[in-house]
């Protein structure tokens, strides 16, 4: 579990880096660009963060889902409100979609019997979690790089 906490800290740092990097140049954005950037960054960030948070929390499904929905709404609104409130709707919608998907993936990783995936060994379960969380972290890092690179194009 300690490795997943480390990956979660890395992901939060990447999301903050993306947010402040976008915020520093927010005068350059036009309308379509703001919507594209908001939906891309919000969807990827909330999916990966929701997955990690769900894997780490051991409460019931309702409480985990409620907390994650609040987290997704906050992230979506923050990314959407960079420009003059044009893209809050896109940010909110994509944040809620992404965090629901993240909660589903996290629940399946914690208990693979839901999807009738034949994994029962505890070591193999932990290995599965580490592999998918590391893969998601790589994807988030790559997409943050692409989003920040898109301001130079």
């Amino acid at each position: 579990m300690l490795g997943i906490i480390g990956l979660l800290i890395w992901n939060v740092a990447a999301a903050c880096f993306c947010y402040f990097g976008l915020r520093r140049r927010k005068q350059l954005f036009d309308d379509r660009y703001a919507t594209t950037i908001t939906s891309t960054a919000t969807l990827c960030t909330t999916l990966v963060l929701g997955m990690h948070v769900t894997v780490l929390m051991s409460a019931g499904l309702s409480l985990v889902f409620l907390l994650n929905l609040l987290l997704g709404a906050v992230i979506g609104t923050l990314f959407g409100a960079l420009v003059k409130y044009h893209s809050v709707l896109a940010g909110l919608y994509n944040g809620l979609i992404g965090i629901s998907m993240g909660v589903m993936i996290g629940e399946v990783l914690k208990n693979p019997q839901i999807c009738s995936i034949p994994i029962s060994d505890h070591t193999q379960l932990l290995l599965n979690m580490y592999q998918l969380c590391g893969f998601a972290t790589l994807l988030l890092t790559m997409i943050v790089g692409l989003v920040l690179y898109s301001m130079k194009v």
Binding site: T36, L47, I97, P118, F135
Partner: protein, 139 residues
């Protein structure tokens, strides 16, 4: 032959998506950015969906590897279709392929009647390919 039927269906689907790529590539100067965005989103999602579902029907014991393959395939397909038009279109297709690729093996693992679901999915895929090629043709 019978054991590999889902992989063969997946291969046929991928060949059809490649033909559609060549077709869109020929008309890419005529397509506006809104239709281009929809093409990138739909095709990235469809490649990830068919890859994840058919591979997990065929090999049900390799969940993690199939998730990685479906995600990378969907992201690559969305980026390729989006790169015909624009950088922002590429970003949209990439992210939609990522989300669908994360979801698709899980959806395939729940299903209990693979043959019926395969028929329905093929009907929808051919419908979407027909609508997209008609929309590209008329633009």
């Amino acid at each position: 032959m019978r054991e590999l039927s889902f992989v063969l269906i997946l291969y046929i689907n991928l060949v059809m998506f490649a033909l559609l790529y060549v077709y869109v590539h020929r008309y890419r100067k005529l397509v506006g950015f809104h239709l281009g965005m929809n093409i990138a989103m739909a095709l990235g999602g469809l490649v990830a969906l068919s890859t994840g579902i058919f591979l997990i029907f065929q090999y049900p014991f390799h969940f993690t590897a199939i998730t990685m393959v479906a995600t990378l395939g969907g992201m690559g397909a969305g980026a390729l279709f989006g790169a015909l038009f624009d950088y922002q279109t590429m970003l949209t297709g990439l992210v939609n392929g990522l989300m669908m690729g994360m979801m698709a093996p899980m959806l395939g693992a729940i299903l209990t009647d693979p043959i019926f679901f395969t028929v329905v999915l093929e009907v929808f895929i051919f419908l979407i390919i027909g609508v997209l090629s008609a929309a590209v043709k008329r633009s």
